[in-house]
C-alpha cells in the first residue's frame, strides 16, 4: 500500500465497516483502494456509484455519498458482475 495523497477523506465507524465486511467481505482499506486506483464514477439521484479495483485485483462496485467538505461515506460494496467488469474496462481504458 503506497502513499495515497490524492484520496478523499473517508467517514468510517464500526457500523459501516461491519456492514461491508459481514455482507460482502470488503474491508475499509479495500474500499479506499478502489478510490485510489483507476475507477469510473457516476451519479444516480442522491447516490454516487463507483466501479474500481483493489490493490489485489478485486473488482468492486461501491455505493457512496459525498458529505460536506467532500468527506466520503461508503454505504455498501459488492463484486462486479461479469457485464459490469466489461463496462469498467471500457471506461478506464
Amino acid at each position: 500500500m503506497g502513499a495515497r495523497g490524492g484520496l478523499p477523506e473517508f467517514e468510517w465507524d464500526e457500523h459501516n465497516e461491519d456492514k461491508l465486511l459481514e455482507g460482502h467481505n470488503v474491508s475499509a482499506l479495500e474500499a479506499e483502494q478502489c478510490f485510489a486506483n483507476p475507477k469510473t464514477r457516476r451519479r444516480e439521484g442522491d447516490a454516487l456509484l463507483l466501479m474500481g479495483v483493489t490493490d489485489d485485483g478485486r473488482m468492486l462496485f461501491l455505493v457512496y455519498e459525498q458529505k460536506p467538505k467532500g468527506v466520503v461515506r461508503v454505504y455498501s460494496a459488492r463484486e462486479m458482475t461479469e457485464k459490469e467488469r466489461r463496462t469498467y474496462r471500457r471506461n478506464v481504458r
Binding site: 500500500m1 465507524d13 465497516e17 482499506l29
Partner: protein, 320 residues
C-alpha cells in the same frame, strides 16, 4: 440514504445504464491530519481518563501511544465482546494519515473493522494499565456529568418544568443526584457548599454543541478555573438580585436526551431515577434546596461562607 435504497442500488446490474448516467462530482483530496472517533461505554472512557490521570498525561496522548504501540506489535488484543452497556461516550484521537492508513491495513489483515481493533486495543491496554497501577476496574463509576445534566434537564419537577433556574440549583441538584446514585460525588466543599467546576464546563459544552440554551451568552474558548469560580460567584450574586440564569434543553437537546434514555434499559432506569430526584428535591425555593443539602451533607458545607446564614435559616424554619 436508507438501507432499502442502497440495497436497491446494489441489487441492480449497472452495465447497460452506466454510460447514460451523469459523472459523479469531483473528489476532494484529504488533509494531512486525521482523527479516529472511538465509541465506548461511558464507564470505559472514565477508566481511560483515570489511568491517564494516574500517569499524569493527557488521555488523548495516552490513547495515541497505545495505538502506536499496538501497530508496532503483532499481538492482537484479547478482550471480551462488549457487554450490553450503551456506547454513549466517544474519544476523538488525532492521528497523522500514515498512522491511520496503518490502522486500516491492520484491520484489513485481521478482517475486522479497524475501529473495533483500535477500541479493543484501548480496552485491553486500560485493563493492563489498571492492573499495573493497582486501580480497581470494578469501582463504582458515576455516569458522565454531561449525561446526568442532559437527563436532568429532560426530566421535570413537580410543576412540570424541565428548565433548571440558576447555576446554584444546577450544581446542587447534580450533587444530590451523584450522592443518591453512588454515595459519592465529584463535588468538593467550597465557598457556597458542594461545588464541581465540571458542571460549568459541561453546561458550556452542551451549549456549544447546540443542545442547551441558557439565558447568558457563552464566551468563546474554554474558561479558566478562576473564570468559572468568578462566574459562579457572580451568578450567586445575580440570583440574590433576582436575575437568575436559566438552563434548558432546546428541541434538539430533548431529542438527544430521549435517544440516550431509550438507548438501553439502564439509561431508562437512570432517567426515572433522575426524574424522581427532581420531583423530590427541586421544589421551588432555592434556599430550601441549599438548606436541605447543607443539613444532609454537612461535610460539604464546612468551607461555606454562608454556612451560618443557612444554619440560622434552618433553625427559623424548624421553629415555625
Amino acid at each position: 440514504m436508507t438501507k432499502d435504497r442502497w440495497d436497491e442500488l446494489l441489487d441492480r446490474d449497472w452495465s447497460d445504464a452506466w454510460d447514460t448516467l451523469p459523472e459523479a462530482p469531483d473528489l476532494v483530496p484529504r488533509g494531512k491530519t486525521a482523527q479516529i472517533t472511538l465509541r465506548l461505554p461511558a464507564t470505559m472512557v472514565a477508566r481511560v481518563k483515570r489511568v491517564a490521570a494516574a500517569r499524569a498525561i493527557p488521555y488523548h496522548t495516552l490513547v495515541r501511544a497505545w495505538i502506536v504501540e499496538g501497530l508496532r506489535s503483532s499481538a492482537v488484543p484479547e478482550v471480551e465482546e462488549p457487554d450490553t452497556e450503551a456506547q454513549t461516550a466517544q474519544l476523538n484521537i488525532k492521528l497523522d494519515q500514515t498512522m491511520l492508513d496503518a490502522l486500516k491495513a491492520r484491520g484489513h489483515e485481521l478482517r475486522k473493522p479497524y475501529h473495533r481493533f483500535a477500541r479493543e486495543l484501548v480496552e485491553w491496554e486500560t485493563e493492563q494499565a489498571e492492573a499495573a497501577l493497582g486501580l480497581d476496574p470494578t469501582a463504582s463509576h458515576l455516569p458522565a456529568i454531561k449525561e446526568l445534566m442532559v437527563l436532568l434537564l429532560h426530566a421535570t419537577n413537580q410543576r412540570g418544568d424541565s428548565a433548571v433556574r440558576g447555576m446554584t440549583r444546577l450544581q446542587k441538584l447534580l450533587f444530590v443526584l451523584e450522592q443518591k446514585l453512588a454515595a459519592q460525588t465529584r463535588s468538593y466543599a467550597f465557598n457556597y457548599g458542594p461545588f464541581n467546576e465540571d458542571v460549568n464546563d459541561a453546561a458550556r459544552a452542551l451549549e456549544v454543541a447546540g443542545f442547551i440554551r441558557s439565558s447568558e451568552p457563552v464566551a468563546s474558548g474554554p474558561p479558566s478555573f478562576q473564570q468559572m469560580i468568578a462566574t459562579v460567584i457572580d451568578r450567586a450574586r445575580s440570583e440574590d438580585e433576582g436575575k437568575v440564569v436559566e438552563f434548558a434543553l432546546n428541541d434538539r437537546g430533548h431529542e438527544v436526551a430521549e435517544t440516550l434514555r431509550q438507548s438501553s434499559p439502564s439509561y431508562d432506569q437512570l432517567f426515572k431515577f433522575v426524574e424522581s430526584i427532581r420531583q423530590e428535591w427541586d421544589t421551588g425555593d432555592i434556599n430550601e434546596l441549599v438548606d436541605r443539602v447543607y443539613e444532609t451533607w454537612p461535610q460539604y458545607a464546612e468551607k461555606s461562607v454562608i454556612r451560618d446564614k443557612v444554619a440560622r435559616r434552618t433553625e427559623r424554619r424548624r421553629g415555625r
